[in-house]
Symmetry: C2
């Protein structure tokens, strides 16, 4: 492991200084080679699916794991889209001349060596490798063991493309052993960043044990607060969209907060509409007085269901809503539905989640929707990157200072 | 400890939303109160100095610890300067309308609760508190035990100023026990960032054990490479400035690299000039053939002397210089002296230290010099902030999204 990473580290300078044209041609080649190797990739995926069946993997995971012709085409297209993104390196983020006459430029550069730890979806292997190459970073990939055959052939395909460009194929490395995670997160000498994507346990384990800085893609416990002055029809549509359009994702709604003065009117509307979609509900005492739903407890409000289940709580006002979100939220995405300017501003300024919304569904927290193109994940960190992480968030910066003999007095 | 931090966390929203006018008046009050309490502060410092004498603290540390009227005036002025900085919160860093018609704003906000761990200098207590208040962050301060009486009275003075503004004085908290550090760095539930400033052992301990993200102020092992085409007179002045102007600081020079083709001419000039300043030298074999100096070994090149000691190594070309810096450097500040455009670009692009210089002394790596005003430290991290950390680096951001009923299709 240490040997592998030491080699990886030595490749950073060359990759960082590759011309955008060469990088983009390489990505185009990778995209083509993925399509060319379609049959082999499907065969490997078949092996993973058989083992999944043998191990009785949950259906949701099997669905994520499964590849078909369309998904391989998507994978290839996604690499092409990444090739088309604006060059992320060498952007002058700021520049000025100081009082000594030094010309100071703050310039975007790669982070260096990035370890990405993920589960199930084999397309993450291709996406992560492509995003890292585009941003000049060495990618150390560790996929889930359930996808090992698929990930292995995808990584091999990409490495073969790299070889044809006379580059060292180890600019991307796929780790195969489960024990590799424990080792990887201790290699702060060679690894600059760990990005874990996965279940709560994985994230917690890595946060507690990593000596390498971590940008985590943690849970999304998202809230919507329907204020007194909300537009009811708009509110019902937004809540339905946030809860039901794709309940298994991190930007889906988990807890609905409703202003007490309108609860009697709006809650039955929400309830009817979501029941049609097959939703289950857990509510506070006051909510239970209005609609027939199960009783929510302290645990309910801490739960990221990732299914068609919704918590409902009646609150006194926007302040109680903010308090609830600060206490139970995960700092991901939270929305207020209101046409009261004071409450809108109070909510947007006080809730310190990575994305706060006014009159919109939480489902928009997404790199594509933001216009970033492919995303490496959605950060729930406070530092370095928050919310959807696009290609620019895989960069750091350095100061380049141009002098003409200056010394400090 | 947990109780203290839980209280601190609840204060974040109020502090984040304080008006700039109130914050600046508070800082002005703090500055005045520091001056008003001058006698008490000097008395407390006297106690620390007596204990320092009893414990035979090294002279350099005593020098840092010592306060006098001038230093207290500097401390008060520094708080005033921080008050005068541009408001760091609420800056719209980017803003656009996406294809759904959502208005997206990326806005600067406070990080939250920041733990700052430092040594000796009591003025860091006042500076850190003021920088945190200005940037809307709760400050958890842990100074060195050698400065405990000074830090305690300074913190109490500042807390008294805060009380007069009807604010909770716990927006700054001074931890007093040595064991507090070990506890603090495990409180990821309440603390958002740890900034350690101090010796290598402290930094290493915190990096290895913290579950809270760390932005470290690590060692500065800075290099200058004199290329073949350097201007000799300029080079001698710059090397002398970088090594001798203030050898005890992190941006001072530790290792000088010289192109082999000019070593015979420039090395004696450097040697004579620095010897006059009282410098000692360790050199590679080839350097020892030119001037009478001690022999450098592998350890020498890893050493941050923080004194008038200099390593000298003759290298074949700019590539060997870059290789040496990547191997032995600490990613702080490195400079090339050259008038060859190709070599200048190669060096500036390949050395990935936080600050890279062309024809200037490494001593310019400093928040004041950069025009940032007061600095909280110099980051040797790859993520979040690199190089001099000004007030804006104590901020993170969130996305505020303004909709009008949008749902995701």
């Amino acid at each position: 492991m240490e040997k592998t990473l030491e080699v990886a580290k030595t490749l950073t300078t060359k990759l960082a200084n590759l011309s955008p044209k060469v990088k983009n041609s390489l990505l185009e080649k990778m995209s083509k080679d993925i399509l060319k190797n379609k049959e082999e990739i499907l065969k490997a995926n078949e092996k993973d699916l058989k083992e999944a069946e043998k191990n009785s993997l949950p259906e949701a995971l099997v669905e994520r794991l499964k590849l078909d012709e369309d998904r391989i085409l998507d994978m290839a297209n996604s690499i092409l889209e990444i090739a088309k993104l604006n060059e992320p390196l060498g952007r002058v983020l700021e520049g000025w001349v100081n009082s000594d006459g030094l010309r100071i430029e703050k310039v975007s550069i790669p982070i260096g060596v990035i370890g990405i730890i993920y589960e199930s979806r084999p397309n993450v292997t291709a996406d992560s490798a492509a995003l890292c190459i585009k941003s000049g970073n060495i990618a150390i990939l560790k996929g889930g063991k359930e996808a090992k055959h698929s990930n292995s052939i995808i990584a091999k395909t990409l490495q073969d493309s790299i070889k044809k460009f006379d580059l060292n194929p180890n600019i991307i490395t796929l780790l195969e052993d489960r024990e590799d995670v424990a080792k990887l997160i201790k290699q702060d000498k060679f690894v600059d960043l760990i990005i874990p994507r996965g279940g709560a346990k994985l994230i917690e384990y890595i946060t507690k044990n990593s000596t390498v800085p971590v940008v985590k893609h943690d849970k999304g416990l998202c809230h919507i607060f329907i204020d007194k002055s909300a537009n009811f029809n708009e509110a019902v549509k937004i809540v339905k969209n946030a809860k039901c359009q794709r309940p298994g994702v991190c930007n889906a709604l988990e807890t609905l907060l409703i202003h007490e003065e309108i609860a009697k009117d709006i809650l039955p509307m929400v309830y009817e509409e979501l029941k049609k979609e097959g939703c289950e509900f857990f509510g506070c005492e006051n909510a239970q007085k209005i609609v027939k739903i199960s009783s929510a407890n302290e645990d309910s409000f801490h739960t990221e269901y990732l299914s068609k289940t919704l918590n409902i709580k009646i609150v006194k006002d926007v302040n109680e809503a903010i308090y609830h979100i600060q206490k139970y939220g995960s700092g991901h995405s939270d929305s207020i539905l209101t046409y009261d300017l004071t409450n809108a501003e109070l909510f947007l300024n006080s809730v310190d989640s990575s994305v706060v919304y006014l009159n919109a569904s939480t489902r928009f927290t997404d790199g594509g929707v933001f216009g970033f193109g492919a995303e490496i994940g959605i950060s729930t960190n406070k530092l370095h990157a928050r919310g959807p992480m696009g290609i620019n968030d895989l960069c750091t910066y350095k100061y380049k200072i141009y002098g003409s003999g200056q010394i400090r007095e």
